[in-house]
């Protein structure tokens, strides 16, 4: 090529520079700092003394940290697989519909995903309101005693998990629909000619061909739900935040409410490592799936 490669390099530098500058400032630097202060006893703002692994060792007998880990795991358990299955069922139903009708039905399922978490919170806080919520009228009608859902230790996390599935299913549905669309129609036609039942068609054709998408949805959901904070924080208003403790909430509490930057950073590093490990696994899984498809 005639173009002088030095010009090309210079142009590349100019084009990459704005992103790189923001990336280094707002991403790389905070990440490095997070690791660094996790070995100190720094407050939220200001310097601290080097304490080695002390912040990490303390986590071991920290009952609140254990509760945060346990609740996060419980929340993940209640959202990831059930949420993915519900999204798959909805996608299967929606994919059978045609044209305008399909886009209207899809919109009904998808709208919650597009809304801010605080709107989702206000709507469900109202729907499940102990005194006036419409869900409580339904419970009365069914003869089931009312439950103060978000004030109850037992029902809080399951209820927040349900709301979260409602809120985030739209995203998974879209991915499943894209996956379903990429399965050739001829395969289904052949199955119909063979008089195969709906269930056999699903089990022998749809499910295996959809598996790469399913594993993608599962891992995206897993990473997303490990980072749960907003809903737990919002629904805990006037409730029991300490009983509902999850990992990111604990980072928030340690750093911003108890002014212990170093200890909070140790929790943050733990979460960081957890998410990176899961992401690497996801990446490997996808590569594996890709190789198998070829």
């Amino acid at each position: 090529m005639l173009r002088n490669s030095r010009t090309e390099r210079l142009v590349a530098l100019v084009l990459v520079a704005p992103f790189l500058a923001i990336y280094l400032l707002a991403f790389v630097y905070p990440t490095v700092q997070m690791f660094r202060i996790s070995f100190t006893d720094a407050p939220l703002i200001g310097a601290g003394r080097w304490v080695g692994l002390d912040n990490y060792l303390r986590l071991d007998n920290d009952p609140m940290f254990r509760r945060a880990v346990w609740n996060t795991a419980y929340f993940v358990l209640m959202t990831v697989v059930p949420g993915t299955l519900i999204a798959l069922l909805i996608a299967l139903g929606v994919s059978r519909l045609k044209g305008r009708f399909q886009s209207i039905v899809l919109a009904l399922f998808f709208l919650p995903y597009i809304l801010p978490v605080s709107v989702v919170y206000l709507i469900w806080d109202w729907t499940l309101n102990f005194q006036f919520g419409i869900a409580m009228h339904v419970l009365d009608w069914l003869g089931i005693p009312r439950v103060p859902v978000f004030k109850s230790r037992v029902w809080f996390l399951p209820a927040v998990a349900g709301v979260t599935i409602w809120w985030t299913a739209g995203f998974s549905i879209l991915l499943f629909l894209a996956g379903l669309r990429s399965i050739p129609v001829e395969i289904y036609e052949a199955a119909a000619l063979d008089n195969s039942t709906r269930w056999t068609t699903f089990r022998r054709i749809t499910w295996p061909l959809l598996w790469p998408v399913t594993s993608l949805v599962l891992t995206i959901q897993l990473i997303l739900q490990l980072k749960i904070f907003d809903q737990v924080y919002l629904f805990s208003f006037g409730g029991r935040p300490n009983d509902n403790m999850v990992l990111v909430y604990y980072i928030f509490q340690k750093a911003f409410q108890q002014n212990q930057g170093g200890r909070a950073a140790a929790v943050a590093v733990t979460l960081f490592v957890l998410v990176v490990v899961v992401s690497v696994l996801q990446f490997q899984l996808l590569r594996f799936a890709e190789r198998r498809r070829r």
């Binding site: 039905v105 605080s118 206000l122 894209a178 993608l216 990176v276």
Partner: protein, 280 residues
């Protein structure tokens, strides 16, 4: 036999369609219920039975939400932050994606891996150090402070790079032959080709930023600087037990993104599937 099987197929198909429809209506019902409740006067909201339509529809809740809270200021903040983040993110990501896709420069592969790797970093783990950084820059309680950590969306660079990769090499070679400048090639040839992708990514980036909660919540303490997503949850006391007023504030907060989605349904779904790494 075959006809009977087909008939059975159709019967169950009809049932499944009906179930899907009922399910969709139930799914969206809380949204409808929220909107309807916000249109009821105080005494109707708390009636101990279900009324699917307000007896006397009223906008008084909206009027009182607007006049008793700083919702106007929150709106301005949200629009400024969301537009700012979208414009800057899309611009820098496109430039970077183009450079990685089309130009040869040292560190290109390393940069690409860095971007792919940052995909997996949970930003919610970085809140402490984002806070320290923004505080040290003196940007707490400012638009710039809310925007800064939100400017990095590796996904957008990845989508742009993949898009530019698909453009046939002949375009660039012909332009280089014509002695077009590098910037001319990007802005006059490549950019007009990808308006579709750019619009789709912009809408989605706007929605993401509008909906962001954790960081805007941490970086702002002054009520008048809050974004609307945070604001409507921080002033419960202002409403007392006036649920309808709170719901009308929620409707106002959700309206822009809901409208953005309903107007550009196809673009939004396309961009979201693209951002997950699936070509829809």
């Amino acid at each position: 036999m075959n006809a009977m099987a087909a008939q059975r197929w159709n019967f169950w198909g009809g049932i499944i369609t009906a179930l899907t429809l009922v399910w969709a209506i139930l799914w969206a019902f809380p949204l409808y219920w929220g909107v309807i409740s916000s249109l009821k006067p105080d005494d109707e909201v708390v009636r101990p039975y279900i009324e699917l339509w307000p007896e006397t529809p009223t906008l008084e809740n909206y009027i009182s939400a607007v006049t008793t809270t700083q919702i106007g200021a929150w709106y301005v903040n949200s629009v400024a932050v969301a537009v700012g983040v979208t414009v800057i993110t899309i611009f820098i990501s496109m430039l970077c994606g183009y450079a990685i896709s089309q130009l040869r420069f040292p560190g290109r592969i390393a940069l690409w891996w860095l971007i792919l790797a940052s995909f997996m970093v949970p930003t919610s783990a970085l809140i402490i150090n984002h806070f320290v950084l923004v505080a040290n820059l003196g940007l707490l309680n400012s638009w710039a402070g809310i925007m800064l950590p939100q400017l990095i969306h590796p996904v957008i660079i990845i989508v742009y790079k993949q898009f530019f990769d698909q453009v046939p090499k002949d375009f660039r070679e012909a332009a280089v032959m014509d002695n077009a400048s590098e910037f001319g090639i990007l802005f006059k040839i490549y950019m007009p080709m990808n308006w579709g992708v750019t619009t789709a990514l912009s809408i989605v980036c706007f929605i993401w930023t509008w909906n962001a909660f954790l960081w805007p919540f941490l970086s702002v303490t002054r009520t008048e600087m809050m974004t609307i997503t945070v604001g409507i949850t921080q002033v419960n006391d202002a409403f007392g037990v006036y649920y309808a007023r709170q719901l009308s504030a929620a409707v106002l907060a959700g309206l822009p993104v809901a409208l953005a989605y309903l107007c550009f349904q196809r673009r939004v779904t396309e961009a979201i599937t693209l951002s997950a790494g699936i070509k829809g």
